[in-house]
């Protein structure tokens, strides 16, 4: 029997899953689509490798208990993550015999999330990607600065090696001082913690709980590749790059996740209206950002958001009354402190603040992840 659906969490499977030690970095909550209470092991032959964003799919023929050959779709991390783990599009080829351990789709279809993949002919485990942050430098390097001593938020110097900000210390908004366990995509371990996360109005709390109960499967970034506006742009696995255009007093924030969008932060003294020709008060995914320096901290004030997206992993709601005050402080060469104050009288009972840090990824260009590449 080559097909085996593991209904009991067998010790052997537990060991192998632990051995894989993959920190998932997918572009959405895995549990939205797959059920961690339904572990499975599939052995079969690769028929197709679909090496595309947002997720790689491996299709394989698997013989079931009735000796019927069935084709399964195995969803894996994005090409970016698999490449970081040493994969490439030729790591698996049609005809390869493999064993996949993972979890089954919630909807009962022949789809599975692959946690580990082992080649049948060699026994080599080929899915060994790890997405933990690289270790920090032994001693902090000084904050790079412009000639006028203003901190550089992007590249360390003209012509310097590329780099970007990633590996956020927190991947979902939670009010400072609150400690509630949740997944990388903000799925609460205990839904009773929902009211602790932020000072939600009753309707917003109920909607947040509803989204959590549905394992975040209604996330418009997942369903429709909607942009990660608001703090979410800093919570995602592929980071952000700051491109400082000092001549025009603006900063471009290039966003590695979602659809590789960008956001412009102006510090030329303009207001928050009419920044884009002709659209004046049209609500936007990234809002309208104006900024000024407060000592070594870049303070960004943003309004003008639409309500078409989730502004954080986890599904905390917002309304078009949302105002964000973001404070960026490059405390040393490799660390960006990010404090965001959320003011939204439409969804919250009072302003609240959440803080996190980002790590500098030196010598690399921003990954280009385009969600829509594999979406109709």
């Amino acid at each position: 029997m080559r097909f085996r659906l593991v209904r009991v969490f067998a010790p052997a499977l537990a060991v192998s899953v632990l051995a894989a030690a993959v920190t998932v970095a997918a572009h959405h909550e895995i549990l939205a689509k797959f059920d961690d209470k339904k572990p499975l092991t599939l052995t079969g032959v690769v028929t197709l490798v679909d090496w595309r964003n947002p997720h790689v799919h491996v299709f394989m023929d698997v013989r079931d208990q009735k000796s019927q050959m069935l084709n399964w779709a195995i969803e894996l991390e994005s090409p970016i993550d698999l490449q970081r783990g040493g994969w490439n599009k030729d790591s698996l080829k049609p005809g390869d015999s493999i064993t996949v351990e993972g979890m089954a789709a919630r909807n009962g279809s022949r789809q599975a999330w692959g946690k580990s993949v082992v080649l049948g002919n060699t026994g080599r485990r080929i899915l060994t990607a790890s997405f933990a942050a690289p270790p920090p430098p032994l001693s902090p390097r000084p904050t790079p600065r412009w000639p006028d001593r203003q901190p550089r938020l992007g590249a360390a110097a003209a012509g310097a090696a590329p780099g970007y900000w990633a590996y956020p210390s927190s991947t979902a908004l939670v009010e400072n001082g609150v400690n509630v366990p949740m997944s990388t995509y903000g799925l609460l371990q205990n839904i009773a913690d929902a009211s602790k996360v932020a000072p939600l109005q009753p309707w917003a709390r109920a909607l947040y709980i509803e989204r959590q109960r549905r394992f975040l499967q209604d996330d418009p970034m997942y369903l429709n590749c909607k942009p990660p506006g608001g703090p979410r742009q800093f919570e995602l696995p592929y980071g952000v790059q700051f491109v400082e255009d000092r001549e025009h007093q603006r900063i471009f924030v290039l966003i590695g996740s979602g659809n590789s969008n960008y956001r412009i932060i102006y510090s030329d003294g303009r207001g928050q209206k009419g920044q884009v020709g002709g659209d004046d008060d049209n609500p936007l995914y990234y809002g309208r950002s104006v900024a000024k320096w407060d000592g070594d901290t870049f303070v960004v004030d943003t309004t003008g958001f639409n309500e078409d997206f989730w502004f954080t992993n986890g599904g905390l709601p917002h309304t078009d009354q949302l105002r964000l005050v973001e404070r960026f402080s490059r405390t040393d060469f490799d660390t960006m402190k990010y404090d965001v104050t959320i003011e939204d009288q439409g969804a919250y009972t009072r302003p609240w603040t959440s803080s996190s840090t980002l790590r500098w990824v030196a010598g690399e260009d921003l990954p280009r992840h385009i969600c829509q590449e594999n979406r109709s």
Binding site: Q201, P202, W203, R205, A206, L207, E210, R211, R214, D218, P220, N224, K226, E307, D308, F309, W310, P317, H318, T319, D320, Q321, Q345, G346, A347
Partner: protein, 133 residues
């Protein structure tokens, strides 16, 4: 005449909106809702409700541009997503009427969610069903 104006408004709305339903991840009632209050002999079978949320109150208008009934005493109980709307109106003779709509949001997660329930005034009542546009 009222029916003609409504159809004209509806045609414009359809032309402007096409078949797309705008995403809306904020307050679940916010937006334009189009449907029927079945059996309404005074103001017609079709109804358009435009609702907004200012952070404290749900405001809006029923049949804007045709009947212009301002929504009052509107509530949303998130425990079951129960909706209550009221609006003052006048019949053709100018006599005052108050509409009371009670319903529930269905398919909360979808942009084209709906409200189903009942409507009534001092003389009539029936089924109320609108979908978000």
């Amino acid at each position: 005449m009222r029916a003609f104006a409504f159809i004209l408004a509806l045609s414009f709305a359809t032309l402007l909106g096409g078949s797309q339903v705008a995403a809306q991840e904020g307050h679940p009632l916010k937006g334009s809702w189009l449907g029927t209050w079945a059996g309404n002999k005074i103001h017609g079978n079709d109804v358009l409700v435009v609702l907004n949320w200012d952070g404290k109150n749900i405001t809006g208008m029923i049949n804007p541009g045709t009947d212009n009934m301002a929504v009052k005493n509107a509530t949303l109980n998130p425990d079951g997503w129960v909706v209550h709307l009221e609006a003052d109106a006048k019949d053709k003779s100018g006599a005052a009427l108050t509409y009371v709509i009670d319903g529930k949001i269905e398919d909360l997660r979808l942009p084209n969610r709906s409200i189903t329930g009942t409507w009534k005034n001092q003389r009539e009542s029936g089924v109320f069903k609108v979908g978000r546009q």
